[in-house]
Amino acid sequence: MTNPFDFGRTMLQAWEKTTAETLEKLTHDEAFLKQMSQALGSSLDVKKQMETHAEKYLQSINMPTRSDLDRILTYLQRIEARLLDLEDRLDAAAAPAPTPEAATSPAPAPTAATHPQPAKAAPRPMPAKGTPSPKKATARSRARK
């Protein structure tokens, strides 16, 4: 008598084979892919319409919308990029220019300790009012030079 586990496995393999063949044909069939894309497109239209209505409703009751939040986040993104640009300029002004010799000699092994720049590290304590932060002071003194 056939072992029930072997029988089950054989059945499963047969199912896998036939289903895989069908799916293989479908995923290569342009007509099917076209229909899938159309269905996806229709669902995207519905999604867009619902979001437009939700946005209009929130605006009508003076509530911030997702677009408002996105706009603020985009501004923050730009500010962050500008801060990093400034940091780069200060670094570039302080760093010695690369020399052809530097490329052939081993560079000093950089470690986190020698380059402490974790942008989102532990929050710094807030300085007292009127006390310039050390970073600001450095930037100003460099600007004076």
Binding site: N3, E16, A81, D91, A103, A112, H115
Partner: protein
């Protein structure tokens, strides 16, 4: 006369117990996998023995961060560091999957200081940011900061999958900043990019509509489509796991690849549109019509030596696409290496990944340092 059980054929009672033990372990695995959730954090990866090469985050910008993998103690660091550019699909740690299955670990052991640009998990605020931002602002800054830190004017660039396409764009935009370029399973000419070309056919697939409706293309949408590139393997996945569930070595490898495969991230909408429309549908990069930072990119402008690694059985970046790279990079010496592997096994499947890693490090070692013109 009754059959006498032998050592080779267990009796029905033993077989039943064996199957029950397998079923129990299989269900345990499924429960654990489901409890792990959609995204892996650093603690979870460490608990699974994944992404263990020592690293720290140098700095962050938006959702992106630059990871630094120091050269192991006792290994002499090489003067020129290497920047890895990862794809926008899934997460970077496929290149540091597990000890012994890690490109980053292998290159570190050979003295290469590796940096990885992790695009992170984009949110709605990143929907309108395109490749101009990701490559011209984030990646350019990473490249310049690394050069400044190491006091060199060039570095090695390494790109994996779509990240390789991005790396080639960077190298074409600023060829003077790169000492060597490694492309791992990277398509640059998309005319014969396999099933993905068919799925993104411009006659019916509208990436701009998806980008506009979602902002950032949801990870679930991408995750739902990729497994059907190979339905046979997808359907057999559960049975393969069940059949090998008592094999601990198999289970460890399966678990790590499964974790990575289900750890999907959203795709920034504008980048999605640019990649699908400009690359897959219009093949602009190969035609020299792709613009980055307001300038047209010419792949022929890349001057550094290039290593093009691809897999024979790759259905995501098939050899029909990857094999055309040398013809496009007319300004540099390109070395093609084709391996009997798949898209994933070329980077993490033993023993082939060890060969690929060793040959990549050998190739990097052999590049003579270039002088400033």
């Amino acid at each position: 006369m009754a059959d006498t059980p032998t050592a080779a054929t267990p009796n029905p009672q033993e077989q039943l117990e064996g199957e029950l033990a397998k079923a129990r372990k299989f269900l345990d695995y499924l429960q654990q996998a489901s409890a792990r959730g959609d995204h892996a954090d650093d603690d979870q990866l460490a608990s699974l023995g994944m992404a263990l090469t020592p690293r720290h985050t140098w700095y962050e910008e938006g959702s992106c961060r630059l990871l630094e993998f120091p050269v192991p103690a006792g290994v002499t660091p090489r003067p020129i560091p290497l920047l890895m550019i990862y794809s926008f699909i899934n997460r970077w740690y496929i290149l540091d999957l597990m000890p012994g299955h890690s490109f980053i670990e292998a290159l570190g052991r050979r003295g290469y200081q590796v940096y990885m640009l992790d695009w992170g998990c984009p949110g709605p605020e990143h929907a309108t940011l395109g490749l101009d931002y990701y490559l011209e602002t984030v990646a350019r800054r990473a490249m310049e900061r690394i050069c400044r830190r190491h006091r060199v004017d060039r570095l090695f660039l390494f790109g994996y999958c779509l990240g390789g396409t991005l790396a080639a764009m960077m190298a074409a935009r600023r060829p003077e900043r790169y000492e060597g370029l490694v492309l791992l399973t990277t398509p640059l000419d998309f005319t014969e990019a396999g099933l993905l070309s068919l799925w993104t056919n411009k006659e019916f697939f509208k990436p701009e509509k998806i980008a506009e409706a979602y902002g950032v293309v949801p990870d679930k949408l991408l995750h739902a489509s990729f497994p059907w590139m190979n339905p046979k393997a997808t359907l057999a996945k559960g049975r393969t796991l069940y059949d090998n569930i008592m094999n601990d070595a198999f289970l460890t490898n399966f678990r790590s690849l499964d974790r990575w495969g289900t750890d999907n991230v959203p795709f920034p909408g504008r980048v999605f549109k640019e990649i699908i429309k400009n690359c897959y549908q219009d093949n602009q990069l190969a035609k020299g019509e792709f613009s980055l930072g307001g300038r047209r990119l010419d792949l022929g402008a890349i001057t550094c030596p290039t290593l093009n690694l691809f897999a024979k059985n790759d259905n995501i970046a098939p050899p029909s696409a990857c094999g055309r790279t040398a013809g496009l990079l007319s300004g540099c010496r390109t070395t093609d290496r084709e391996y009997d592997a798949t898209h994933h096994s070329i980077s993490v499947g033993r023993p082939i990944c060890e060969v690929v890693q060793r040959e990549t490090a050998d190739w990097l070692d052999a590049i003579p340092p270039r002088r400033k013109p």
